[in-house]
């Protein structure tokens, strides 16, 4: 019987903890002047549909063939124009996607939004 009690207690804690994580545990951290929401959503969709994460990491998660992009937007050595150049032309290993101007803008907005959310990077 004890086993069944322990199991039930763990299961209830699991669901309670999940709820806490879905709500207070993960409040929005991005603030300041943010890019438009529709742009960001489109950018995110493209990021997923082209599977950028197979080569790039956000918050250190993803594939490892390409560079980490979380703070690329505000990185003094990279920044918006640099990102734009790669999205337009590809690179030695980065594929050339035939994005429209609008698509490139929205991907950059998405990366800008992520950069704003990355308060854990700034503290360090």
């Amino acid at each position: 019987m004890t086993k069944i009690y322990i199991f039930s207690a763990l299961l209830i804690s699991y669901f309670a903890y999940s709820l806490a994580v879905y709500t207070r545990g993960t409040d929005e951290t991005a603030s300041g002047p943010l890019p438009g929401k529709t742009e960001v959503t489109l950018g995110k969709r493209l990021y997923q549909e082209k599977n950028c994460s197979s080569c790039h990491q956000l918050y250190g998660l993803g594939g490892y063939l390409g560079p980490e992009l979380t703070t690329a937007f505000s990185d003094p050595n990279r920044g918006e124009l640099y990102l734009r150049a790669f999205l337009q032309n590809g690179g030695p290993r980065m594929p050339k996607f035939d994005f429209t101007e609008k698509e490139i803008n929205s991907i950059i907005s998405y990366l800008e939004y992520i950069d704003h959310s990355a308060i854990s990077y700034r503290k360090k």
């Binding site: 069944i4 879905y22 545990g25 993960t26 599977n51 080569c55 956000l58 063939l65 308060i119």
Partner: protein
């Protein structure tokens, strides 16, 4: 009365055995394809133009990961289908369920592979296919859930640990699979911190769920080899099961330390982290001392695989504990050290345990066949484990190199160029792992191929 279990199965066959064997064959096909695509992906690190227009890296990587993960849970499922009637002492509840599941899974896999080749992605690790296909995966698991609970009808007060472990794995796979699709709702999708935290919460626990399946199988095979029913019913056995379950539920946060969720998410996972691997090491350790030489020798192949899994548990345990310490994780996260952890555990532990299960089944079903391939099998085991040691080391080394580069603020392309020697080592040793494991795959496929005249039914 107490006939040694290893000597029983010859005259202990069930009408679904051929179906279970087909299921295991499917799992080996996943491994075969997955290994080839992993090797391709690795070579693409060295030769950027290799097959670039046919199977680019952004196709090869998700295909590799999808296929090898499928190997892991399909092999666990196939084994479970074979063991269920034996544990329950009766035929499966829904016999055609195996074939239904096999067909559902095959169709889903074909759709997934086609969509990858077609360049259609969902773009979410580790299931990077379009989200609608997740439904196919969920559906294909249902027959096993039905068969598991209705064939065993377990009495949870007395059920051995592996039954708890299997049941937990099955249920949590469904829970976490659903959770990994929460992102389709804007509430999750619109907030990157929430989205990524919940995704890795789901994925972290999903890995825990298939570990439950695989470890359950490892424990069952151990019990059968040793003939000792004690450990799987002991207090320690259950204690470690619950510790594993606690880990499955709460340790996932070590994937997301860097994501700015609330600090307690980090604390909870840090405190609970990574006792999971210790768990099995401890159990196997105990069993090993109870194994008698004759029994070890009877199932020497399965036994040797279990011993290798044991070594990998210890090595990966050390690495896992180190990278779960936030101060170290800050540096190792996002480097190939994570890949060393991911592949070290999935190859060294999961694949070795599942191979042990496959060869345990083969030995009981077709002893002569296994004996005739004995040399090749041992060669396959040795080659793959030796190569894995080099592979693992080269991944850790290239991770350390990346850390030192980023401390020196070197550019990405410079770091990549400096890492080439390690990538070479990684690629060549990876190819050797592929070669070693393929020896096992081919022999197992050959021996699993159903015989024309079925064995006589149980007496």
């Amino acid at each position: 009365m107490n006939t040694h279990p290893a000597q029983l199965p010859v005259n202990n066959s069930y009408s679904t055995d051929n179906q279970s064997r087909s299921y295991l064959m499917l799992s080996l096909c996943y491994l075969l394809l997955g290994l080839l695509l992993g090797t391709l992906g690795a070579f693409q690190y060295l030769l950027p133009d290799l097959l670039k227009n046919k199977i680019s890296f952004q196709q090869a990587r998700p295909l590799h990961v999808y296929l090898v993960i499928s190997w892991i849970f399909t092999a666990a499922q196939g084994g479970l289908y074979y063991y269920l009637p034996r544990v329950a002492g009766r035929e499966l509840y829904w016999k055609q369920g195996i074939t239904v599941q096999l067909l559902l899974q095959l169709c889903t896999s074909i759709l997934i592979i086609v969509s990858f080749f077609d360049g259609q992605f969902g773009g979410r690790e580790y299931f990077e296919f379009p989200p609608s296909l997740g439904m196919g995966i969920a559906l294909s698991w249902l027959p096993l859930l039905i068969n598991f609970f209705l064939t065993l009808r377990p009495d949870y007060r007395t059920a051995p640990v592996y039954i708890w472990s299997w049941g937990t794995g099955l249920v949590f796979f469904m829970i976490t699979l659903s959770e990994s699709y929460l992102w389709i709702f804007d509430y999750f999708n619109g907030n990157i911190v929430r989205d990524m935290t919940v995704q890795w919460k789901a994925m972290g626990s999903m890995v825990g769920s298939w570990n439950m399946l695989v470890y359950g199988t490892g424990m069952y095979v151990m019990e059968r080899i040793s003939g000792d029913k004690g450990p799987c019913r002991s207090k320690t056995g259950y204690f470690f099961y619950f510790l594993g379950l606690t880990n499955l539920m709460f340790n996932w946060g070590h994937h997301t330390y860097i994501i700015p969720a609330s600090p307690w998410v980090k604390t909870v996972s840090y405190v609970i982290s990574m006792t999971e691997l210790l768990i099995l090491g401890k159990i196997i350790w105990q069993w090993k001392s109870t194994l008698k030489d004759a029994r070890k020798n009877y199932h020497h192949i399965a036994y040797r695989l279990l011993v290798f899994a044991d070594i990998w548990i210890f090595l990966n345990l050390v690495l896992a504990i180190l990278i779960s310490v936030p101060a170290l994780n800050y540096y190792t996260h996002g480097t190939h050290i994570t890949v060393a952890h991911a592949m070290g555990t999935t190859i060294g532990i999961n694949t070795m345990l599942l191979m042990a299960s496959v060869f345990f089944i083969l030995k009981t079903e077709n002893e002569e066949g296994v004996e005739s391939g004995r040399k090749t099998i041992h060669a396959g085991i040795l080659i793959s484990n030796a190569a894995l040691a080099v592979f693992w080391g080269s991944l850790v080394a290239s991770g350390i190199l990346k850390i030192s580069s980023s401390l020196n603020r070197e550019s990405f392309s410079y770091t990549m160029t400096k890492s080439i020697p390690f990538f070479k080592l990684f690629t060549y040793s990876g190819a050797a792992i592929t070669a070693g494991l393929l020896l096992l795959v081919f022999i197992a496929l050959w021996l699993l191929y159903p015989e024309p005249d079925p064995l006589p039914p149980a007496d």
